[in-house]
């Protein structure tokens, strides 16, 4: 049967199990949009800026385990996707971006809204296609989804010229994907598995660092078994949160720049590090030459290019984390490391995650703990990027995979609101809280309109401190308190929300916090709370840039100024 290119795209999306598209139309993608009326099974969510379509697709993928899809037109529509695609690339999230392109005869002629988007996104996509022939569309889309979701997941872009969308061709469902150069390693090498098991069985002070790879691979159970059998304490990376239960007796929190003091001391003292699905990002390792000075390192990762990239590795294991752990478990012997655990407990007492102090104003840490109390840890928590993100990582307790959605590698401010949107669309059965900063939130604030139009009932908590807080913290600690370009003259977020027909509350005192959270959760639609938190509260512990993780600084008990801040330059 003959179909248009646009129809073939829709058929192919359905064949891939796609239910939701996030996008914004424009001239070059219009034939595709025109076809959507024939495919009511495909729910389209209209964003207000294409960047948010990519972020929403990204979060949708993270919470559902499916491939997220975003759509944009050519030129500015496509370039607006770039940040979102880069975000998905750095955090290994499977998304497929479909962009319109000018008609084939206009390509390369600087036509209106023509941009070389496959060229622009070359370094930030796992793969990309410029479709020259509608007859290729079905197999390209099948391939794109396969590439996005298999192996180490990542974004794939498909650029479809307008006339290809309109072209009528015979629709032939695609055959098997045939990619001779595409390798997906699965099981680790048997010898290395044996070596790793031997090291684990022999270690005195072993430590597991669990990353996003554990969650992507669905290996939480295997990780738990390994940790419990060999009695190995577990610390996580930022994106590893939720991969190992936060309340597990062997969980010692997040490591790295804003990790717990005891996790970082554990790295510094361990004699064996089992790195599972992590890529040794500099925010985790601190000064690389001083990282884990006493430890042998086992590195398990699907991507061979990650092995030995940043740190020397004693036992490299290239394979799917779940498959590798399953195989390794058979060789792991029950062990006790009571002395090592006692040591960790001592450190936990010496360097506790700073409690919400009494007597000061409204502290963001307190608010986050109250959100945890109210949700029982049973919500999906989405964050923007900045101080609030780190406080959330430190103070909310994540019990299961897929409950923490955050921009790790790229650190994209503005990720929060569109991501929360995508998460809620993917998991309408779950409560979704967005914990955002006032700076981050304002980067994509226009999506409040999308929440209303598409009835996306997320709960928004803004940690409003009137600063680009993380940058201000660096200025305070490392740049002589010169607060250049960090004070923010904020809008009244509650009034902004009201303008978008979203109810909101302003909270300035500790006593009001739990009531406001309860009110937000009881409301049937989206709800916004602006918490006027301590303006100059800092995130501690902190490993200063360039220092080893053992050299973290803790809260200096400084005098904090009082809201509202006095002198804004």
């Amino acid at each position: 049967m003959k179909k248009t290119g646009a129809q073939i795209i829709c058929e192919s999306l359905l064949a891939e199990g796609v239910e939701v598209l996030f996008g914004l139309p424009g001239g070059s993608i219009l034939p595709f949009y025109d076809t959507l009326s024939q495919y009511p099974q495909l729910r389209h969510i209209l964003v207000r800026h294409e960047q948010c379509a990519a972020h929403a697709a990204d979060a949708y993928a993270r919470v559902t385990g499916k491939v997220g899809v975003c759509v944009a037109t050519s030129g500015p529509g496509a370039t607006n996707l770039v940040t979102g695609i880069a975000n998905a690339h750095l955090d290994s999230v499977p998304i497929v971006a479909i962009t319109g392109q000018v008609a084939r005869p206009f390509i390369g002629k600087d036509a209106f809204q023509e941009i070389d988007i496959t060229g622009i996104t070359l370094p930030i996509t796992k793969h990309s296609y410029l479709v020259h022939d509608a007859a290729e569309l079905a197999s390209i889309i099948k391939e794109a989804f396969y590439i996005a979701r298999s192996g180490r997941p990542g974004p794939v872009l498909i650029d479809v010229p307008r006339d290809v969308q309109l072209e009528q061709v015979e629709y032939v469902p695609p055959g098997e994907v045939n990619l001779p150069g595409y390798k997906v390693p699965t099981r680790g090498h048997p010898t290395q598995l044996k070596n790793a098991a031997r090291l684990i069985n022999e270690a005195q002070r072993p430590l597991i660092i669990a990353g996003h790879g554990v969650i992507i691979s669905g290996a939480s159970e295997e990780l738990k078994k390994l940790a419990e059998t060999a009695q190995v304490p577990v610390i996580t990376t930022l994106l590893g949160l939720g991969g190992f239960p936060g309340n597990h007796v062997l969980n010692y929190g997040m490591a790295g720049m804003h990790g717990t003091g005891y996790a970082n001391r554990a790295i510094d003292n361990a004699d064996l590090i089992v790195a599972i699905g992590i890529r040794f990002d500099d925010r985790l390792t601190g000064k690389i030459s001083a990282f884990a000075p006493h430890a042998k390192i086992i590195h398990i990762d699907l991507d061979p290019a990650e092995i030995g990239k940043n740190v020397r590795v004693d036992v490299p294991i290239v394979g799917d984390v779940k498959v590798v752990l399953e195989a390794m478990l058979e060789m792991i012997e029950p062990r006790e490391h009571l002395e090592w655990l006692r040591q960790l407990e001592d450190w936990r007492r010496q360097h506790p995650i700073e409690p919400a102090r009494e007597g000061s104003g409204l502290l963001p840490q307190y608010v986050i703990r109250q959100i945890y109390e109210a949700t029982g840890g049973d919500a999906i928590i989405v964050t923007g990027v900045g101080q609030h993100q780190m406080w959330t990582a430190q103070h909310y307790v994540f019990h299961e995979p897929g409950t923490f959605v955050s921009s790790g590698g790229l650190g994209t401010m503005g990720f929060g609101l569109p991501a929360a949107m995508g998460a809620k669309v993917g998991r309408p059965d779950r409560t979704v809280w967005l914990i955002d900063g006032d700076g981050s939130f304002q980067m994509t604030i226009q999506e409040l309109a999308t929440l209303v139009q598409d009835k996306i009932a997320i709960k928004i908590a803004i940690m409003n401190n009137g600063y680009l807080g993380m940058v201000r913290q660096w200025q305070e600690l490392f740049h002589g308190k010169r607060y250049i370009a960090t004070p923010l003259s904020c809008p009244d977020f509650v009034k902004v929300a009201e303008a978008y027909c979203i109810p909101g509350l302003r909270v300035t005192r500790r006593e009001e916090v739990s009531g406001a959270i309860a009110q937000a959760m009881a409301y049937h639609g989206p709800f916004l709370i602006s918490f006027a938190v301590e303006p100059e509260e800092n995130v501690f512990p902190m490993v200063p840039p360039g220092a080893s993780v053992a050299e973290f600084i803790e809260h200096p008990q400084k005098e904090v100024s009082v809201w509202p801040r006095q002198n804004t330059p």
Binding site: L122, H127, L130, G181, K183, H189, A305
Partner: protein
């Protein structure tokens, strides 16, 4: 870190953009590519790419792994340490008068080069060999005045029966 010259050989799918993708991974790390040669391979719809690049072993190995991840790169190997045959072709246009022509012909002869064009005031010489051989000939010709040089860059092949480098497995063996 000590840098050395590495020769990478890749078999890639004949698709638009594949070179761009490959080169981009070098550019990003600030590598200057000495030469890159692309041509058909023994397999249909597959091209063979030979890249010569200067860099530390660790850095080149990291790029090789990244290249290997590209969907259109079927296999790639760093054949630097292998027993390889290396060839390059150069065309050289040298000033030649009636007085110098015979001397130049003699030099060409020594290097088993061919004369491919003769004009009243110049000779064009075609020479093949490894880079050292071509460099040596150019050094000798320089005193006559070289008007133009076109070099292809290095192509390379592992000696013996080994075909190219499906060295994903080979690499793994070496790591263990």
């Amino acid at each position: 870190m000590a840098t050395t010259k590495h020769t990478l050989v890749a078999i890639v799918r004949d698709r638009p953009g594949v070179l761009n993708r490959m080169v981009s991974l070098f550019r990003r790390r600030g590598f200057n590519i000495d030469s890159i040669v692309v041509g058909h391979s023994e397999e249909p719809e597959m091209s063979r790419v030979t890249i010569v690049v200067n860099g530390s072993a660790a850095m080149v190995e990291q790029v090789r792994k990244q290249l290997d991840k590209l969907v259109d790169v079927v296999r790639i190997s760093d054949i630097t340490g292998e027993n390889i045959t290396v060839r390059e072709l150069a065309l050289v246009k040298v000033k030649a008068s009636s007085g110098t022509r015979s001397e130049i012909l003699e030099i060409a002869d020594i290097f088993r080069a061919n004369i491919v064009d003769v004009a009243s005031d110049s000779l064009t010489i075609e020479v093949t060999g490894d880079e050292d051989k071509i460099d040596s000939m150019l050094k000798l010709l320089r005193s006559y005045g070289i008007k133009e040089i076109a070099r292809t860059g290095r192509v390379a092949m592992v000696r013996g029966t080994i075909r190219v480098p499906s060295q994903v497995e080979g690499r793994k063996k070496r790591m263990i």
